[in-house]
């Protein structure tokens, strides 16, 4: 076996952060692709006359009412989750275990609250996925987003367990989890605009 010269100690890797960034890119393509298909269906829907709004695309049935307040609250919740996640990074860098724990806990709770708001929207709308193309696509797109939110909460839980378990100097997982929440906020902003505002 040939022997090459041994190297010096290598620089630290950022595998988790990079892996998270790559996963975020893939998830961006997932949400982007779904929103693009949504917009395509919306654009290709036939035009019909509405008693209230004149000529409109026959896309969202008139009896469907999307709870916009809950959707707006979800958007605000995601923004707050970003602040909490960044607070966790800031505290972890300062080796402040108490603040990091609180920040991670708050991030998880806000994530769960956003998921709860999503369930509230589904329940409040009172329509089923089998009621038409709009309905099935609405459920498919929002459920995919909700799946990503649950993944975020699990990520936060893993970061919290690792941190509280004593790995307080491994900041990468905390900063990676913050990156994921930034991605979630950006992704939900797009979902909010296309599905809840533009419909």
């Amino acid at each position: 076996m040939l022997a090459l010269p041994a190297a010096a100690e290598p620089a630290p890797r950022r595998q988790i952060f990079l892996g998270t960034a790559i996963a975020c890119t893939a998830a961006t393509m997932l949400i982007g692709g779904m929103l693009a298909t949504w917009l395509q269906f919306r654009a290709e829907a036939p035009v019909r006359e509405s008693a209230k709004r004149g000529f409109i695309r026959d896309w969202m049935p008139e009896n469907v009412i999307v709870p916009e307040v809950a959707a707006n609250m979800m958007l605000i919740a995601f923004c707050v989750a970003c602040v909490m996640a960044q607070w966790a990074v800031y505290s972890a860098k300062r080796q402040d275990k108490t603040h990091t724990s609180i920040a991670l806990g708050m991030t998880a709770i806000i994530g769960l609250a956003a998921f709860n708001a999503q369930i509230f929207i589904w329940t409040e709308m009172g329509v089923g996925a089998r009621d038409g193309a709009f309905h099935s696509m609405f459920y498919a797109a929002t459920a995919s987003m909700a799946f990503l939110v649950i993944a975020g909460v699990i990520f936060t839980a893993v970061a919290a367990f690792r941190y509280l378990g004593g790995r307080t100097k491994e900041l990468e997982v905390v900063s990676s989890h913050a990156l994921y929440w930034y991605f979630l906020t950006a992704a939900f902003t797009a979902v909010w605009f296309v599905i809840y505002v533009q419909k």
Partner: protein
């Protein structure tokens, strides 16, 4: 960022030495990238085999266009869909991903793949999804299937399989970015590693779009059947993943195999290395086209070339970027290979023959795609597209066989006999050409792609379809024989030694098969071919 993991002790429990014969429990639970890679390769060869059996059935069914002889009208759509999915996602893709999982960390001088359990989990998820897809087809599910629940199962299994592919692709791409030996910048990494990285990133940006579409189709099929065409619409929405340009993504790692193996086997350093890096990236542009799910067509003729020239130029630009440029990349890489063959001292070894002939198949399929996308050629919807698909897929499989002959000795410690493998390369190449070219000719006669019979056109239609069926059969026979030869060689073949090809990259600097942690030391790399430099300096000669 050029660094590798020195804290490998923690991974030892997950990385059982590939040198020892692994038990079933080790095969199932191991996160050693060499074992996971070999699992991918084994399952990929099996998937390719089953896909080829179905392709042979489809091929012979088309010979007599008047009535069904082997299949029936109800099962035709399902068999067509699963055959393509098995060839693409069940055969060639796992074969190439498996080679990447097993070889890329070794080429980069790394002790392990990044996220080894993610790579292992990706394999099992892919396998579970693929198994459920096959089961759903057997139970009358899948595209056009009669059992509604099993159509749903097919779609759900498709998503699971694609998630497995994404997990493996993530692991490979993070490895290429973070686990290179000190001194090995990205542009110093071997070309197979680079092409695996490019292919992985391409998969990571295209497959999620496919997953999103499949989620829509699944929810619509299960609940509403209002927007996506029910069971008949499944292929319309997700069929793009088994046609061009998506299949170009299969060719990317195959091109990397060629660019790594040919210079070694022709004893000529690839002086055009930086150009090769760019060319591999250019082929990945096809990924953009795949994501947009748009084939940019060129409306060429009609009322004269110069009429409406401005519009034609506006059409020409996206046509060139999305259709022509990837083919130019493949063509230029074939050119580099030919230059190496001409200026080097080629060894007539099995990997070289497989790789060169496979590249010709890929180039044939890719070049034909340009022709189909010229609107006035009138080839859209014809079987011409199947000819392209066969050229690219079978060509990529041939190159993957070459990759197995080339790196198999490193993974198994034994080499495949050149004398036995070279005739198989010729048979596989003949199968590729016979399986694709007659379909292209039949495409000009407007033979439809989606139908197995009920078509008629002037010309020897039975001859074209019979030639294709024979081509598929030859490819199947070559694959069966290759698998048998590989199993026999890797179990009882001639010992390969650590560096059987006089290699130039780091994978040849460790033992065959490599130990659990790949390398005893972390290397410092000063050039793209560190082993060649080291050999040259040890003999006091200029490399």
């Amino acid at each position: 960022m050029t660094s590798i993991d020195t804290h490998h002790a923690a991974d030892v429990s997950a990385s059982t030495s590939a040198a020892a014969t692994p038990t079933v429990a080790v095969w199932v639970s191991s996160a050693d990238h060499k074992i996971v890679g070999r699992l991918h390769i084994g399952a990929g060869l099996t998937g390719l085999l089953i896909g080829l059996v179905l392709a042979v059935l489809v091929g012979f069914e088309r010979v007599d266009a008047e009535s069904y002889q082997i299949l029936d009208e109800n099962s035709a759509t399902q068999v067509l869909a699963i055959a393509r999915n098995l060839l693409t996602f069940g055969g060639v893709l796992p074969l190439l991903l498996g080679l990447a999982v097993a070889i890329v960390p070794l080429q980069l001088g790394s002790r392990s793949i990044s996220f080894p359990r993610l790579a292992a989990g990706g394999f099992w998820m892919w396998l579970t999804g693929l198994g459920l897809m096959i089961a759903s087809i057997i139970g009358n599910g899948g595209p056009g299937g009669g059992n509604s629940d099993l159509v749903d199962l097919y779609l759900a299994a498709y998503i699971v399989m694609l998630l497995g592919v994404l997990m493996t692709a993530t692991s490979i791409s993070v490895t290429a970015l973070t686990s290179r030996a000190p001194g090995m910048g990205l542009l110093r990494s071997p070309l197979f590693s680079w092409s695996s990285f490019v292919a992985s990133v391409s998969l990571l940006v295209t497959v999620p779009v496919l997953i999103g579409t499949t989620v829509y189709v699944y929810v619509d099929h299960r609940y509403a059947r209002a927007g996506f065409g029910g069971n008949k619409g499944v292929n319309e929405w997700i069929g793009w993943a088994t046609s061009q340009p998506f299949t170009y993504l299969l060719a990317i790692p195959a091109l990397g195999i060629a660019l790594d193996a040919v210079p070694v086997l022709t004893r000529r350093r690839l002086v055009e290395r930086s150009i090769a890096f760019v060319l591999v990236g250019i082929v990945a542009i096809a990924g953009v086209s795949a994501v947009t799910q748009t084939t940019v067509t060129l409306p060429w003729g009609g009322d004269g070339f110069f009429s409406g020239l401005g519009t034609k130029i506006a059409d020409l630009l996206p046509f060139f970027l999305l259709n022509v440029l990837p083919v130019v990349g493949i063509l230029a890489i074939v050119g580099l290979v030919l230059v190496s063959l001409k200026e080097g001292k080629p060894r007539i070894a099995a990997p070289l023959v497989f790789v060169v002939l496979g590249l010709i198949g890929i180039l044939e399929g890719a070049a034909a795609t340009i022709l189909r996308t010229i609107e006035d050629a009138g080839l859209a919807g014809t079987i011409f597209e199947t000819g392209e698909y066969v050229g690219i897929t079978f060509g990529s499989a041939c190159v993957a066989f070459g990759g197995l002959c080339y790196w198999g000795p490193k993974l198994w410690g034994r080499r495949i006999s050149d004398k036995a493998a070279i005739p198989l390369a010729l048979v596989a190449f003949l199968g590729t050409i016979l399986g694709s070219l007659p379909y292209m000719i039949a495409g000009f006669a407007d033979q439809p792609a989606a139908r197995l019979n009920g078509f008629s056109y002037s010309g020897p239609q039975e001859l074209w379809n019979a030639l294709v069926a024979v081509g598929f059969l030859l490819m199947l026979l070559a694959t069966v024989a290759f698998i048998a030869l590989a199993v026999k060689s890797f179990l009882t073949g001639e010992s390969a030694g650590d560096d059987p090809w006089d290699g130039t990259t780091l994978e040849w600097a460790t033992s065959s098969p490599p130990p659990a942690d790949n390398f005893a030391d972390v290397f410092v790399v000063n050039s793209p071919e560190p082993l060649a430099d080291m050999k040259a300096s040890s003999t006091g000669k200029e490399a």
